[in-house]
């Protein structure tokens, strides 16, 4: 398969280019000459952009700081495009890429004038080149070249891998190795182990439960032969038979018991049998009779207590009435007291009237002087006025009023006491009536309860006590019957307890069986499959990663071995050093050191070489690899952007000679602002050359090109 060389570039609206330019590059060597900002680099960049689009501007991927914030579309153009025309010995290839400010951009490639294809990956497959390959194998960029010899080991390896077309493999390895897949498996193992431990613990617990239940059953004299479904069924049958018999005996409906032939039925049989048994305990006629007797006993007891209480209260009241004076006596005393009170009040009124007369008499005697004998109104004797006056004064001075008032108060107090006594007597009479009524009512209730009429001659308490005595005797008789009934039921209860124990044993056995078969379940198999799938994926990743590492190492060694002599040859031609003529990359050195050697000595390039020779060393590696026919890509084109940087005239001339040799195998596209180097290249390269001079650049019209 022959390689493609570049015949022409049609360009418009890309970076520095404004109007359309058609640049013919149909020559083994194309020299691009011009100063800074003349459009020279824009033309070189147009080639890679057309082939790879914005991927080449991804500075993080290719470490090209120059590409940061790349302005692809020319600032004065609404749209732009680049069209590349390639040709090989037998084929033609047109690649077109468009960019627009608005609307969808267009891309296609067309092989041998056929259909336009838009799959960029198909173009890269056709050329056997990726963006990374292009930037290291085809386009020698000044930023990349120095990495070969001076950067840290990681960057040097990275640059070397890119140069050798191995960067994608390295990226793949990096991407895989960033994930700690072993941790996932460790987590799976830990969780799986946890489940196994808990399963084991559960098995042990159930085993202990089973042992304890079995021991208890044996201690309860349950035969071991019954520790199964059939044994449980036998016991269920016995229980069912007894319960049916008892139900008939108690005249209650025959219980509806679940089918106990299988374990699930036996499990529901157990609570049903238990509740049926409890029902029978209370449904037996003796129990019912006992219940009625107890109820009657309580009711009669309450009636007796109520009667005794009311009768006792009545007796108390009657005793108090007997102790109290008769009502008539109190009323007679009260009448007398009220008469006395009236008498005293009359006396008081008379005394008040007399006192008034005396007062008036004294007032008279004081006003008028009376002579002769007068009759004393007090003692009715004939006497003098003086005597009457003195008598009146004596009478007025007597404590008559106080005596009368004290007597009145005494009588009133006595009357109050008598009235209270009378009230108390009345209250006692009323209370006695109430208790008498209550006692009569209670006697009636007792009569009703005993279903007989009680006369006043009957003693309700005595009659009640007789009935209560009869009840106690009946209860004693029933109690013996109930005792026998309970003993019979207890036998069934024992069978139910046996059944419960056997069912528990069967449950534990079943759980043990299920637990021991967990590892045979589909769920467990799925879990193991999931773990195996994860293990396999991690194993695949490890294999892939290890294979990639081996392949990168082998590929690197193989490719560098193929150009080993060419690297030294170019280095020798470029530098012409008499002391260390050879340049080698030590692939066995973990640092991938670049060394200069002679027949007996070796030294690190960075330690020995000056800046110009270091550039020559990097150029030697690039040119040897880029010119190698052993590389797989189909671009027969090498682009060198300012390769003579930092070289003196002597070295530039040597570089031109090396490029002449490279031009035998590859089409060269060399850009430089160095006129001296351009001239040296023109002279040294013997193949047909095309010189494109970028004389000036205008923001509105773009670069001005002259072709020689």
């Amino acid at each position: 398969m022959s390689s493609f060389t570049l015949n022409s570039i049609r360009i418009r609206g890309f970076r520095g280019f404004v109007k359309e330019e058609v640049v013919s590059t149909q020559a083994p060597c194309v020299l691009l000459s011009g100063g800074n900002r003349s459009g020279k680099s824009s033309l070189i960049n147009a080639i890679e952009w057309c082939l790879f689009g914005k991927k080449v501007a991804e500075v993080t991927t290719y470490h090209l700081r120059e590409r940061k914030d790349w302005q692809i579309l020319n600032r004065n153009s609404p749209d732009g495009y680049v069209e590349l025309t390639f040709a090989s010995d037998t084929e033609t290839l047109i690649v077109f890429r468009e960019i627009k400010k608005k609307g969808a951009a267009n891309f296609y490639f067309q092989k041998n004038g056929g259909t336009r294809e838009q799959d960029e990956a198909a173009l890269h497959a056709l050329l056997h080149v990726t963006p990374a390959d292009f930037l290291s194998l085809v386009h020698l960029h000044p930023e990349i070249i120095r990495s070969f010899v001076v950067e840290q080991r990681r960057y040097r390896e990275d640059a070397l891998n890119r140069l050798l077309g191995l960067s994608d493999l390295e990226n793949l390895i990096d991407g895989i190795q960033k994930v700690s897949s072993e941790q996932f498996l460790a987590s799976f193992d830990s969780k799986f182990e946890d489940v196994e431990i808990r399963l084991e613990e559960r098995l042990n617990t159930r085993q202990r439960d089973l042992q304890q239940a079995t021991d208890t059953a044996k201690a309860d004299a349950i035969e071991e032969s019954l520790f199964n479904e059939a044994g449980a069924s036998t016991i269920c049958g016995e229980i069912a038979k007894r319960l049916t018999e008892f139900s008939e005996e108690c005249d209650v409906p025959t219980p509806s018991l679940p089918n106990f032939m299988i374990l699930t039925g036996q499990r529901t049989f157990l609570p049903t049998a238990r509740s049926t048994l409890e029902n029978l305990r209370i449904k037996h006629p003796s129990v019912q009779s006992q219940k009625q007797l107890i109820s009657e006993q309580q009711a009669l007891g309450n009636l007796r207590d109520a009667y005794v209480e009311s009768a006792t209260k009545l007796q108390d009241q009657e005793k108090q009435l007997k102790k109290a004076r008769a009502k008539e006596t109190i009323e007679e005393d009260l009448k007398k007291a009220r008469t006395r009170l009236k008498q005293q009040k009359d006396r008081l009124a008379q005394a008040e009237r007399t006192a008034k007369i005396l007062s008036e008499a004294l007032e008279y005697f004081q006003k008028f002087a009376i002579k002769g004998s007068i009759r004393c109104p007090l003692c009715l004797s004939d006497t003098t006025a003086e005597h009457v006056r003195e008598h009146a004064e004596q009478e007025l001075a007597k404590p008559l009023f106080r005596d009368i008032q004290a007597k009145i108060a005494e009588i009133q107090k006595h009357i109050e006491k008598l009235e209270d006594e009378l009230d108390g007597r009345c209250r006692l009479e009323q209370a006695a009536k109430r208790w008498q009524k209550k006692t009569q009512d209670n006697a009636l209730e007792i009569g009703k309860a005993l279903r007989r009429v009680l006369t006043s001659k009957d003693d309700p308490v005595a009659i009640l006590e007789k009935r209560l005595q009869v009840i106690v005797e009946q209860q004693n008789k029933i109690q013996a019957s109930i005792q026998r009934w309970h003993e019979r039921l207890e036998i069934v209860n024992g069978s139910i307890a046996k059944l419960e124990l056997i069912l528990r044993i069967l449950d534990f056995k079943q759980q043990l069986d299920s637990l021991s078969r967990v590892s045979q379940t589909p769920a467990f198999a799925s879990l193991q499959n999931a773990r195996t799938a994860a293990e396999k994926f991690v194993a695949d990743l490890d294999t892939l990663s290890a294979s990639l590492v081996t392949m990168v190492r082998d590929e690197r060694r193989s490719k560098l071995d193929a150009v080993k002599h060419e690297i030294s040859h170019i280095f020798k031609n470029l530098t012409g050093r008499p002391d260390f003529a050879n340049l080698e990359i030590d692939l066995d050195d973990p640092d991938l050191s670049v060394s200069v050697t002679n027949q007996s000595e070796s030294a690190k390039a960075t330690a020995l070489l000056n800046q110009g020779d270091l550039n020559c060393a990097a150029l030697s590696i690039f040119l040897a690899v880029a010119g190698s026919t052993g590389l797989a890509h189909r671009l027969g084109l090498v682009i060198l952007d300012d390769p003579g940087q930092s070289l003196d005239t002597h070295h530039k001339a040597r570089l031109a000679e090396v490029l002449n040799s490279l031009c035998e195998r590859k089409q060269l596209l060399i850009g430089s602002q160095d006129d001296e180097f351009i001239e040296l290249a023109r002279q040294a390269i013997s193949k047909k050359k095309k010189l494109l001079r970028f004389t000036s650049w205008d923001p509105n019209t773009g670069p001005v090109l002259e072709t020689e």
Partner: protein, 71 residues
């Protein structure tokens, strides 16, 4: 990337039988991701696959726990 070359390389490795198909398939999947998004995309794919496997494992683990009555 030259897959064919890598396939050849894998063939000379001593792969287990069950890896003869899966490893090249995995390579193809990861290489496609790498072409589109670099190492980050590869890491993403690997983590995604591991997360899927973890989810399946967790689901199966819950089923087994339920079966064993230890959930």
């Amino acid at each position: 990337m030259n897959f064919e070359k890598f396939r050849e390389h894998l063939q000379v490795q001593k792969l287990a039988d069950q890896q003869l198909d899966t490893v090249p398939q995995l390579l193809q999947e990861l290489a496609r991701a790498c072409n589109e998004g670099g190492p980050t995309a590869v890491t993403h794919i690997v983590r995604k696959r591991l997360a899927q496997l973890t989810a399946i494992f967790e689901k199966c683990l819950q089923d087994v726990k339920k079966e064993a009555g230890i959930s």
